[in-house]
């Protein structure tokens, strides 16, 4: 199957989904594959049933000497005979395909049919509906499409449709790269006694984690000298008023504050705060995936990271990502723009693999972790090595904030030993969080349901002080 157009479409904004309702108009699809599939014809299940009826009634007629049973064989034999003759006519209609020397449809001579597959989107967010369109260029009387969804694909419409073209809607409830499954095309002849089958494997789609809602940003107190939208603590050419000082040669005349000048008797000018941007590195701990599927720690981490990436990129910050996995890390250097959001999410999707063969965390290049960057870590803090890496980063002078995505705990059990172990585990978790706070790393808990602004509120109201 040749891919005709790999970029069929991008996911829609989850915020827009509510406006579209449960059954949105998914629009037209883009063709992703076109294939000349080979159809092998064979007697249908209906023909086999009719043959069984005819054979059984004839056999029983002879055994029991009952002529009425011989009559029972009449209608199925007539239908089978008519179907055989019609098969010859049908085969002759097919141009040189699927028929033997006698013109009848035969399984030994497969017939090709042109089938096209289209998708409304090859990338989508979790739970966002999409559709696959299938069509065949054939004038066969009866066609039936059956959709067998792949693992992790939820069909949103009937999975079997009759007609030359069909649209199957589906949704992917959990992020990741998902195979859509397959579509089976069943062609029937006029009498439904012969059927041809073609099974087509559908392409894969990328399901992006649904971004968490985040409208505010954590801003560092010390920002790099780069033009942006965050108010810095140093005077500059921004638009936000900072103070009044005495005029010095070179100041712009339009900055003169005439009321202050009148009061003091000397020329006074307004000063404004500089506007800077910051580097933000989203650090995702993909070593542990605990909790219920769909609301596990990794799900929350990826959704939180996607939401944070969207928020910081919207604020004209440079955002990058590092996924921490067993055996290595994947990283993307901070950059600007909308395309960076999709690049970040593509890197996040690689967390699906579990074991990564990437860079070593301790040897990440300067581009991946620029000095002075704000590091927002999403982690359940269950892996000792990751916690050590956080401590190491803090000691190297990075400003860190940890979003704790652990939303599950060992269940309480009746035995004393189990309860004691559970209690020890809880104390250990508290100790980990306490030790990070002592190092100056804020740890906020996020349950995945509320907007990220709520747990981050104490740190978004004022700049996060950078301490070394």
């Amino acid at each position: 199957m040749a891919l005709a157009d790999p970029a069929a479409g991008a996911p829609g904004d989850p915020a827009d989904r509510a406006d579209r309702g449960d059954h949105p108009n998914l629009g037209a699809s883009s063709q992703v594959a076109a294939e000349e599939a080979v159809v092998s014809w064979r007697p249908s299940r209906h023909a086999r049933r009719l043959l069984t009826l005819a054979a059984a009634s004839l056999l029983l007629a002879v055994i029991t000497r009952n002529p009425a049973l011989a009559g029972v064989a009449g209608p199925p034999l007539l239908l089978l005979g008519a179907g055989r003759v019609n098969a010859g006519r049908y085969g002759a209609r097919q141009q040189g395909a699927g028929r033997d020397s006698g013109g009848a449809i035969s399984s030994s001579a497969p017939a090709p049919v042109g089938i096209s597959i289209g998708l409304t989107a090859t990338r989508m967010y979790e739970g966002e509906p999409a559709a696959v369109d299938v069509a065949v260029a054939d004038d066969t009387d009866d066609l039936r499409w059956s959709f067998e969804p792949g693992r992790g694909i939820e069909p949103g419409s009937a999975t079997a449709v009759n007609g030359r073209a069909a649209r199957f809607t589906f949704a992917v409830p959990r992020w990741g790269k998902r195979g859509l499954g397959s579509v089976t095309l069943t062609l029937h002849d006029r009498w439904h006694l012969f059927e041809g089958r073609v099974q087509l494997t559908l392409p894969s789609v990328d399901c992006y984690p649904s971004p968490a809602v985040q409208r505010t940003e954590v801003v560092l107190s010390k920002l790099p000298n780069r033009l942006g939208e965050h108010r810095a603590r140093v005077p500059g050419d921004g638009t936000e008023f900072m103070g009044v000082r005495e005029f010095v040669p070179g100041d712009r005349q339009r900055a003169i504050n005439w009321p202050a000048t009148t009061r003091r008797g000397r020329l006074q000018v307004n000063t404004f705060a500089a506007e800077r941007s910051q580097d933000v590195v989203l650090l995702v701990d993909a070593t542990s995936d605990v909790g219920e599927p769909g609301a596990s720690a990794l799900d929350l981490a990826l959704r939180g990271a996607a939401g944070a990436a969207r928020a910081y990129l919207a604020a004209r910050d440079r955002a990058g990502v590092i996924t921490y996995q067993w055996g290595g890390t994947h990283w993307l250097a901070p950059s600007l723009g909308r395309r960076q959001l999709y690049r970040i999410i593509d890197v996040l999707l690689r967390s699906d693999t579990g074991f990564a063969r990437g860079s070593t965390f301790s040897r990440l290049p300067r581009a991946a972790l620029p000095p002075g960057a704000l590091v927002v870590a999403f982690s359940p803090l269950l892996t000792g090595r990751f916690v050590e890496a956080l401590r190491d980063m803090r000691e190297r002078g990075f400003s860190l904030i940890v979003v704790d995505v652990l939303n599950t705990a060992p269940p309480p059990r009746p035995t004393f030993a189990d309860n004691a172990a559970r209690r020890i585990w809880q104390l250990e978790q508290q100790a980990i969080r306490f030790s990070l706070r002592e190092l100056g790393v804020p740890v906020v808990a996020w349950d995945g349901r509320t907007p990220l602004d709520l747990p981050l509120a104490p740190y978004t109201r004022r700049p996060l002080v950078t301490r070394r």
């Binding site: 827009d16 000497r65 069509a135 009937a158």
Partner: protein, 210 residues
């Protein structure tokens, strides 16, 4: 969000596509299935009366009831997709998938047809009764196929009505042969009538479709 690809490439022009939708509503899907169940149940009931208490007849009755019921269940769950694999699924889900596979693997309709015919031959010779049973069984098989293929019943029956009419005549001929008084008593005369009926059926099959 603007529908652009992450690579920044413009989205290709959307082309209109004809899409097929399932035939109107729930009734269109459930109608043929319900009809198949009713026809199967009617065939079993028609054949079973009067009730026989011999072992073979009771076995045939039980098998036919099971087969018709399982066939109905197969049609009812026909739209439930089979997952690609059942790895790490809970036990109750695996059991449900096994039941689905069992329903879809065994040829329930063929089993039902054979069991019903076997039940019919347990009774004494009854020509018109058997002929009507034959009509019911053919209808059961056609409606079952319509239900599982989703085909529109109208065109299917329109194409076949002439053959079905001739088939009804053959059923009547078979019943008539059964009712003709034997020329001479004994098994030979009965066999003769059977062969005559088969010959008529064969002649009709050979002549009519051409």
């Amino acid at each position: 969000m603007t529908p652009i690809s992450p690579d920044g490439e413009a989205r290709p022009a959307a082309r209109p596509r004809v899409t097929a939708v399932p035939r109107a509503g729930l009734l269109a899907a459930a109608g043929p299935r319900l009809a198949a169940v009713l026809l199967g149940a009617a065939c079993v009931a028609w054949t079973a009366t009067p009730l026989l208490h011999s072992g073979l007849a009771q076995t045939a009755l039980v098998v036919s009831i099971i087969a018709v019921t399982a066939g109905a269940l197969r049609l009812a769950v026909a739209d439930i997709p089979q997952p690609e694999d059942n790895f790490m699924l809970p036990a109750y889900l695996r059991a449900w998938l096994d039941i689905l596979a069992l329903l879809r693997t065994i040829a329930w309709e063929e089993t039902a047809v054979v069991a019903i015919l076997w039940l019919e031959v347990q009774h004494h010779l009854r020509g018109w009764h058997t002929a009507l049973l034959g009509a019911g069984l053919v209808g059961y098989l056609i409606v079952t196929h319509i239900a599982e293929s989703g085909a529109d019943p109208g065109p299917v029956f329109r194409r076949q009505w002439k053959l079905l009419a001739v088939g009804a005549c053959l059923l009547a001929v078979g019943a008539g042969f059964a009712l003709v008084p034997a020329a001479a008593p004994g098994a030979g005369a009965a066999l003769l009538r059977v062969l005559a009926a088969i010959a008529v059926v064969a002649a009709a099959v050979l002549v009519l479709p051409g």
